[in-house]
């Protein structure tokens, strides 16, 4: 019986890297996707260990804090989902997890709003960063919807009152025809499936855009047009794609 040496059978990483760049693979979809992704976001850009000197303010902490709070929201929400919607009404442990979920949402929104207004006053859309700004605003709006459906899914007095009051606004827009705030089952599905998926996707795209474009530079010190040899319309040529 022949015993195969796994080191012989398995191509090493260098061989794989070479194979990935074979000319005959130029039209291969997988290779093209990888090349495009690595070109747009090389490791040094995705996880840089250097930042421009102007990135030195407490305001930058709130973007990271927003993502951190979102992770806590998701983690506590997953625990509530595992145990079911009735658990936290009948269990002291469940009530505590619900409290963690509630307060993580409050911290998430606090950090997000400070981050948003901080970026507004930095005019963070400058230099081809308009899509970054828009995805941030849309993330905020979808998060408001996710939190709102959470309040509707509580199965307590708050959800009764909020749903019977909110129905008038939703119905007035016509959305009430398909988005029925007094339908607990529908609101729970929106809260734990549809809207979280949207928030996670939007925040993911937003963070990748921040990595792609970098942190917006300060305004010119004298508010004047920068010297032509140094300025570019949409951002540093080396950074902007």
């Amino acid at each position: 019986m022949t015993v195969l040496d796994p080191k012989v059978e398995r191509p090493d990483q260098a061989d794989l890297d070479k194979a990935a760049d074979r000319p005959e693979d130029a039209d291969q979809w997988t290779a093209r996707i990888r090349h495009t992704a690595v070109e747009a976001l090389p490791p040094q850009r995705l996880l840089p260990d250097r930042q421009p000197a102007y990135v030195a303010s407490w305001i930058y902490v709130f973007g990271v804090a927003t993502v951190a709070a979102l992770l806590v929201v998701i983690a506590t929400g997953l625990v509530l989902a595992v145990m079911g919607p009735n658990w936290w009404h009948v269990s002291s442990t469940g009530l505590f997890v619900n409290s963690l979920h509630l307060w993580s949402v409050e911290v998430f929104f606090f950090a997000m709003v400070v981050h948003l207004w901080g970026k507004f006053f930095m005019a963070a859309w400058r230099g081809k960063r308009r899509a970054t700004w828009i995805t941030g605003v849309v993330s905020f709006l979808v998060s408001v919807g996710a939190a709102f459906t959470g309040y509707l899914s509580q199965q307590n007095f708050d959800s009764q009152w909020i749903s019977t009051q909110a129905k008038d606004g939703i119905n007035s827009t016509g959305a009430g025809a398909i988005f029925n705030v007094t339908n607990f089952g529908q609101m729970l599905m929106w809260h734990i499936v549809l809207l979280p998926l949207c928030v996670i996707a939007l925040v993911g795209v937003h963070v990748l855009m921040v990595r792609l474009r970098g942190v917006v530079p300060p305004f010119a010190a004298d508010d004047e047009t920068p010297d032509g040899s140094q300025g570019s319309v949409d951002g540093p040529a080396e950074v902007s794609a």
């Binding site: 102007y54 409290s99 230099g127 708050d158 016509g174 029925n180 300060p218 080396e238």
Partner: protein, 349 residues
Amino acid sequence: MSADVVAGHRRTRKFVPDRDVPDWRGRYEPYDLAKEFLVALLVVVVLVAGLAVLFGSPDDKPVTIKSWSTADAVDFATTAITELDGSSGTATYGPPYNLNGDAQSIGPIAPAKWLGVHHPIDTANDYVLGPLSTLTDDPATRAALVRYEAASPAQQASWTAAYEKAVASAKFTGGELVVPQGNYGPVGVLISSLTSMARSGALDGALLSSRQFYGTDYTKPLLFIADGQYLATLASNQHLAGEQWGMMNETGSYPGQAWLWLYTLWYQVPPANTSDNGDIQVFAFMIGLTLLLALVPFIPGLRSIPRWSRIYRLIWRNHYREIEHPSRGSDPPTSPPRSEDTAREPVPV
């Protein structure tokens, strides 16, 4: 001056400070993103855990039709007669529940009307006559039902109007709803039976029953409860009414949905707080404001506010201090990146 490449030629475009950025030619410094994220996560976890331990979360029991009719049987009976005669809030709502009321509109724009009825509710049958028809072992109720349903609409209206007037002076004593005498025919028996059914809890089940065993749609019982005064009184006591900025509050002293403050604000001022179309007006206004916020990078003037406000000088105060007082600066303007992979260009950030 800056440049775009168009069809192989470079053309110049005026630098706009609220749209464009100057090249960063200053220094780069070590910045440990992973460490920053982990520290932020730990701080958030500790903060959230501390808040949860200190304040917990509210969980006031929901109102049921049983608890409502037990706590305030007169309010229940008063609401029930408006469901039967079609004058309740739900009965006259319009789309998406029925066609008995006008949908809100702004001029010719009435989206709810265009979309029509999607959650049909016939309050007389769904809330009163239907549930009572399940009381097959109650001869008095059966007889009253037969008599009411056989009467002409005019006769029914006469009875319900008389009962609605009488129930305003009703009392609940000795476990019975006592309504002053009046010419309200079988309606007195019907509402009295419905009240007993509600107080037993049977009406909660009857309103939730659907064509299938499982159900998660509470639209019918919720709207019935909301038609009465009991829920609103409880809410007002918990500072949840509309004029109390209720949409952003929750029971107790919790922060609630504070991020809805601007949406709630418009309900406190004209025209929304006086108009029959206040809801759609608030939504239209908020949609407009949201579009402005999302599209601010494209709106001249609006996008200049950050530069005019000069708040950015607080955010980047170290940067401007170094520029204005170069002697205090620590490093030469540019230092090359450390990584060999990015030696030919600044490290992307």
